[in-house]
C-alpha cells in the first residue's frame, strides 16, 4: 500500500542514525589525544576544535550560557516525562506499556546526565531545580501541549523526539566536553524513542478507521509545535533579534542555525509521513526541485510566544506536578541526608540479611 509493508531497521529514521554520533565519538577521541599539542587558552582550544573541560579557564559569559542551556535541557527531560507518563496506566497492550515505561525512565536518566553536566560548571542540581520550580528557568515549550489520545505517544516519539535528535546530534560536538559527552549518550537512546513513536503510528495507520483517525489527529496537532522546537528564525529577513545564535556559534556550542535544522527536519520527516499514510497539516508543503528541499508554510510564531509566556494548555499542570513531587518528597530526601550524615557513608549500608 505504501511501498514496503514493514519498517526497515537498517534504513535511518532520524538524525542519530546517519553515523554523525559515532563520528562525534571518534572526533572527540582524536582531538583528546592531540590536546596537549595545542595551546591551552580558551581561544586556542576553541580554534583547535578541542573540548573545553571543567578545569579549563573559560569566560564567565560562556559558563553562564552553558549553565542556562544545559539546565533548560535537563528541565525539559524531566518535565518531558509527564506527557507520556500520563499514558503509562492506559497503554493498550502490555508490550506498549513496557516500552512506554522504559522510555519515560530514559528521560529521567537524560535529566540526570544533564544535571550532572551542569554541575561541572559549579552549580548544583538542587539550585537548578529551584529555578525551574520558581519559573526562573524554562523547559521546552513543547511539553505544554496535552497528550489527548494514545496516538499522541506515537506523534511525540516520531516528531518531538525526532526534532530533539535533530537539535542534539550537533551538540555531540559541542565545545564543552561534559555536555558533548552527555549528548552522545542521550542521542543513542533518543533514536530508540523516535523509532518506537514511528512504530506506534505505523501500527495505528494500518489499523481500524478509528485508529487511523487517531493517528492523523495526533500528527495534525503535533506537526507545527514540533517545527517550533527549533526556535525562532535566526537567518534571513525573518531573523528575530535577541537570539543567541551568533555568539553560541562562535563558542562552538551551536553549529547550525535554527532554520537549517528545521529544514533538515522537514526534509527528513515529510517522506516519512507519506510512508505512514498520514498527511501533514500544511497546504503549502511542496517539494522544491530547484533547492532540493521541501518548502513549508509560515509558522505562527505568536503561538510559541504565547505558550512560552505561560498560556499553554499544560504550563500550570506540568509545574504543579513537578513542584508537588518535590515538596511531597522533601521528607524522604531529608531522611536520606540525615541518615548518611549520621552513618558517615557515601554508600549503601549493609543490613543484616
Amino acid at each position: 500500500m505504501y511501498g514496503n509493508d514493514f519498517i526497515d531497521p537498517d534504513e535511518p529514521l532520524n538524525a542519530a542514525e546517519f553515523g554523525d554520533v559515532d563520528d562525534a565519538v571518534a572526533a572527540a577521541a582524536t582531538t583528546a589525544a592531540q590536546r596537549a599539542e595545542g595551546g591551552s587558552s580558551f581561544e586556542a582550544l576553541l580554534a583547535a576544535d578541542q573540548r573545553i573541560e571543567p578545569r579549563d579557564e573559560m569566560p564567565e559569559a560562556y559558563r553562564k550560557t552553558l549553565i542556562r542551556q544545559i539546565a533548560q535541557h535537563a528541565h525539559s527531560e524531566i518535565i518531558g516525562m509527564q506527557p507520556e507518563g500520563n499514558w503509562i496506566s492506559r497503554a493498550p497492550s502490555l508490550r506498549r506499556k513496557a516500552i512506554l515505561m522504559a522510555k519515560v525512565q530514559d528521560e529521567a536518566g537524560h535529566g540526570l546526565y544533564l544535571y550532572a553536566a551542569a554541575e561541572t560548571l559549579g552549580v548544583d542540581r538542587a539550585e537548578l531545580l529551584d529555578l525551574l520550580h520558581s519559573g526562573k528557568q524554562k523547559y521546552s515549550s513543547i511539553f505544554n501541549y496535552p497528550t489527548l489520545t494514545w496516538a499522541d505517544n506515537g506523534a511525540i516519539g516520531w516528531l518531538v523526539d525526532g526534532a530533539a535528535i535533530m537539535n542534539q546530534v550537533p551538540l555531540c560536538r559541542c565545545s564543552y566536553g561534559p555536555y558533548a559527552r552527555a549528548m552522545i549518550r542521550v542521542c543513542k537512546e533518543e533514536s530508540f524513542h523516535q523509532r518506537q513513536g514511528f512504530e506506534i503510528l505505523w501500527t495505528l495507520s494500518r489499523g481500524t478507521a478509528a485508529q487511523k483517525d487517531m493517528a492523523q489527529d495526533a500528527a495534525n496537532r503535533w506537526w507545527w509545535p514540533a517545527l517550533m522546537m527549533f526556535g525562532p528564525p535566526d537567518t534571513g529577513d525573518a531573523a528575530t533579534t535577541g537570539g543567541h545564535t551568533a555568539q553560541s556559534m562562535a563558542w562552538g556550542i551551536k553549529r547550525f542555525s535554527n532554520d537549517d535544522l528545521r529544514q533538515k527536519f522537514v526534509d527528513m520527516t515529510v517522506p516519512q509521513a507519506a510512508k505512514l499514510g498520514l498527511t501533514l497539516p500544511d497546504p503549502d508543503l511542496r517539494f522544491n526541485e530547484e533547492t532540493g528541499h521541501w518548502d513549508f508554510g509560515a509558522i505562527d510564531w505568536s503561538e510559541l510566544w504565547r505558550v512560552l509566556k505561560g498560556d499553554g494548555a499544560c504550563n500550570a499542570e506540568r509545574i504543579e506536578r513537578r513542584v508537588g513531587a518535590h515538596h511531597e518528597g522533601a521528607w524522604v530526601r531529608e531522611a536520606a541526608n540525615a541518615y548518611a550524615a549520621r552513618h558517615d557513608l557515601g554508600q549503601q549500608q549493609e543490613y543484616v540479611a
Binding site: M101, Q105, A108, T203, E328, E334, A336
Partner: protein, 280 residues
C-alpha cells in the same frame, strides 16, 4: 506482627478437592490449577507494576523515578510471561493482552496488597519490602518447578526481586533511622501495609494442588524466611513491626477485591476495550 496473623487453613474451596497425592491429580485438573496459579502470580506482578507506574514523575528524586520504573518494568516482564503461560495451560490460548485487558474484576486473582492506591513513599517502601521479600522466597522455590516455563521465569526473576528487596530495605533503613518525621512516616507505612500481609502467605486450593504436583509452592512455606528478612530490616531501622490489626484482607485469590481494584482496571483496560479487535 505475629505468625498468628496468617490464617493457614485453606479458605473457600476445601483442600479435600485436591488433597489427593500429586500423581492421582488428573492432568486436566493439574493444568487447570497450574493455569490458575500462573494467574495468581502474574496478576500480583501486573497489578503492582500498574501501581508503580503511577510513581513515575512523582518520586522524591529523579533517581527514584528511575528505580521505581525499573521495579515496575521487571514486574511487568514477569507478568507478561506468567499470563502467557496461563493462557497456554488453561487451553484457551488467550494472550497476555487478552488476559490483562479483557478479564473483569472477579477474574483477577491478585492479593489486595498490590491493588491498594499509591500513597506516600513510606507506604510504598513498606509494601515493596513485604512484596519483594515474599517474591524472593517464591521465585527461589519456583526455580525448581516441574513446569519449565515457570522455572525459567522464576530463575530469571529471582535476581530482579532480590534487587527490589534490597532497594526497599535500604529505604526502610534510611527512613526509619533518618529524621523524627521519617521515623513516624515509615512506622505509619508499615502499619498501613500490615493488614494486607497475611493474604500473601495464605494457602488455597490452587496452591495446595500445584505444590503437591511440584509445579508450585505453598505460600505458607515462604513465611518464615520472608518474615525473617523484613523483621531484621525493620529492627535495624530502629522500628518495630506493628502488632496484629483488628482486620486483615482476604479473598483476592478468589477474585474478591477491594474498592480500588475496579477503578484500576477501568483505567488500565479502557483504551483496549474501546477498540475491540484492534492491534496496537
Amino acid at each position: 506482627m505475629s505468625r498468628n496473623a496468617i490464617d493457614t487453613s485453606v479458605s473457600d474451596h476445601s483442600v479435600s478437592d485436591h488433597s489427593v497425592s500429586g500423581s492421582s491429580v488428573s492432568d486436566t485438573t493439574l493444568t487447570t490449577d497450574a493455569a490458575a496459579y500462573c494467574l495468581q502470580l502474574g496478576d500480583d506482578a501486573l497489578i503492582y507494576a500498574q501501581r508503580l507506574g503511577d510513581w513515575i514523575s512523582r518520586a522524591p528524586q529523579i533517581e527514584e523515578d528511575m528505580a521505581l520504573a525499573n521495579v515496575g518494568l521487571d514486574l511487568l516482564g514477569q507478568a507478561r510471561e506468567l499470563l502467557t503461560r496461563a493462557g497456554q495451560l488453561d487451553g484457551t490460548g488467550r494472550s497476555e493482552d487478552e488476559l490483562a485487558y479483557l478479564r473483569d474484576e472477579r477474574q483477577f486473582h491478585n492479593v489486595h496488597l498490590v491493588e491498594q492506591e499509591r500513597s506516600d513513599f513510606g507506604f510504598e517502601m513498606a509494601r515493596m519490602l513485604w512484596f519483594a521479600a515474599y517474591q524472593c522466597e517464591l521465585y527461589a522455590a519456583l526455580a525448581n518447578s516441574s513446569d519449565e516455563t515457570i522455572a525459567g521465569v522464576a530463575g530469571k526473576a529471582v535476581k530482579e526481586v532480590d534487587y527490589h528487596r534490597d532497594h526497599a530495605s535500604q529505604w526502610v533503613l534510611r527512613l526509619g533511622d533518618g529524621t523524627s518525621t521519617s521515623y513516624v512516616r515509615m512506622k505509619e507505612g508499615l502499619e498501613r501495609v500490615a493488614p494486607y500481609v497475611a493474604e500473601l502467605f495464605e494457602d488455597d486450593a490452587v496452591s495446595v494442588a500445584v505444590s503437591e504436583a511440584g509445579v508450585g509452592t505453598l505460600p505458607s512455606s515462604l513465611w518464615d524466611s520472608a518474615f525473617g528478612h523484613v523483621s531484621r530490616v525493620v529492627a535495624q531501622a530502629t522500628l518495630t513491626l506493628p502488632t496484629d490489626s483488628t482486620w486483615r484482607s482476604r479473598g483476592g485469590r478468589q477474585g474478591i477485591h477491594s474498592r480500588p481494584m475496579g477503578f484500576l482496571l477501568a483505567e488500565m483496560q479502557h483504551i483496549a476495550r474501546s477498540h475491540p479487535g484492534a492491534t496496537w
